[in-house]
Subunit: 323 residues, 2 copies
């Protein structure tokens, strides 16, 4: 896993993934007490950064294997990223989802051309079903984060941050990244190590699900006690990956954790000040910048808004409370 | 008024105005029955395209006159555009607003460094107060649309559309633009006449406030019967300008008009599919693309989302009804 893999990913994604802008607002600067730059991956295809890694992994596959198709386990952003990337190559995508996943997410994934296979979380083993399907049909698994090609795809966000910030005269900054399994955070950290070495990356998690923060402090991979119970569903991962954690440990500064209410408040600030729709899990880094200024030292903080796939009722509730 | 003025504006705005992206979603394509490309000027500084024209006008001023400051009449997007542009040059901005303007808009304009002067709509004459202030303090008026430098600034949106669409292989399209006084629409039409001559521009207005549509059909400037009564407040202008109308008449195809409910529905679609916050007046072009497909012929429709400054209660109501 090295910077050359991220540069190769950038070449594969050129003209396919969006180069999202780097946004700002004087109102956010004032709230945070410093310059805030926001990288809105909610504007990426399928509404999250996940498209980058999925597309890179599928683009790099052996063409013959790719023709048979890909499979992914996901009820969320990764599912949509894999579905759209597979469709672009004209190959089948099978997405294994729990039968109780929101109907809208199932419908959206199907609408992007994927075959959705539902399983019963209580009585069926997802891995077993997936392995059976993959073997029977020759499908290749696209992992959500613990895969070098996926990490490299997400790392292209870091290449863009380095170039866009430099164009604004910014070479030193703390970079806050919403962190689940760590694919996005590790990829960005690798890219910045090479292209913006004076920037320091910090993973941001929901309170109560701060396994990466605790793991970085302990120097070894720890897991979360719970797997649900936060509105930040997109980043509730049991623990960092076997590939991502050593990268996070080598490259990232201390983690930060924010309560759900601050994520919702940050969503409302992004509505008012950036005109961006951010989902709760995608808003934790902005929340840390706005509401934990005392834990940040740099004059400039760069935050990644990693996705925008939020249901309307939750979004309305966030605006009602905080906008 | 010619293309060279728009190119000069682009040079003045380089590094200051944002080059907003050109976005799309397969879900919107399906709703519209054709390819839909969205130019989100809601992501521009101050949340609307108005910053471009204001900044260009102030940048082109005689430096000595500029030092004395500028004045504008506006309770909305133009006010914020002028305030931020003036602040960037370190010169005073006086914004004349009705005393019953929303407190949030007054607060935002002040927060951008402007001096807000309130007047009573019932008893005071805005033009008289403005003329008095301008004379006493040597302020220069920045008009909202009927000024060549303002039109040229807005026209830079058209230069970007031409270049971004060409990079996607699109040279033929119908371009739908939310239209109030016509500064944005005329500027884009002039830019596309030069840089993308196979594109045809159509102004889009709220039903009941379709003076430009009727004026284009009649060949002369007509006015709206009413001045309020639509949620599309940003584009409720009594009539097109003396400078903008001849440009619209020479360059633009028939206008379209959409009911308020369709604008709100388009806002909800932009929330779900683009992760963009669009205000009602900024959503009329997207509404026309999504809900009036029968009035469009081209394989590709490009819509401008001209602003995103919408209050949270109205936005929540739009999502509740249509998301």
């Amino acid at each position: 896993m090295n910077i050359e893999m991220i540069r190769a990913a950038a070449r594969r994604l050129e003209g396919h993934a969006r180069r999202t802008p780097l946004l700002s607002s004087p109102f956010l600067d004032e709230m945070a007490g410093r310059r805030v730059l926001v990288k809105p991956e909610c504007l990426q295809h399928t509404g999250s950064f996940k498209f980058r890694g999925a597309r890179n992994a599928i683009a790099a596959m052996d063409p013959e294997a790719r023709t048979k198709g890909v499979i992914a386990f996901s009820s969320g952003n990764h599912a949509q990223g894999v579905a759209l990337a597979a469709r672009a190559f004209g190959v089948p995508a099978v997405i294994l989802m729990p039968a109780d996943a929101p109907a809208l997410k199932i419908a959206n994934t199907k609408a992007l051309g994927a075959e959705v296979v539902l399983y019963d979380r209580a009585t069926q083993d997802r891995d077993e079903i997936g392995a059976g399907l993959a073997a029977a049909r020759g499908l290749t698994l696209v992992k959500p984060f613990d895969d070098p090609l996926v990490i490299a795809g997400q790392g292209t966000v870091g290449l863009e941050i380095a170039a866009q910030a430099a164009a604004m005269g910014v070479t030193e900054a703390q970079v806050l990244v919403p962190c689940g399994g760590g694919g996005l955070t590790a990829g960005i950290a690798l890219a910045l190590e090479a292209n913006a070495p004076a920037m320091q990356v910090h993973p941001v998690e929901p309170e109560g699900f701060d396994d990466v923060k605790r793991s970085l402090a302990a120097g070894r991979r720890l897991a979360n006690a719970r797997q649900s119970g936060s509105v930040c569903d997109a980043i509730l991962t049991p623990s960092a990956g076997e590939i991502t954690f050593p990268l996070l440990h080598r490259l990232c500064g201390p983690g930060l954790a924010v309560p759900d209410d601050e994520a919702l408040h940050a969503m409302a600030a992004a509505f008012s000040r950036l005109k961006l729709v951010i989902e709760p899990g995608g808003a934790v880094a902005l929340a840390a910048a706005l509401f934990h200024a005392d834990q940040i030292e740099a004059e400039t903080v760069i935050v990644v808004a990693s996705g925008g796939n939020v249901d309307a009722p939750l979004y309305r509730a966030a605006l009602e409370r905080f906008a």
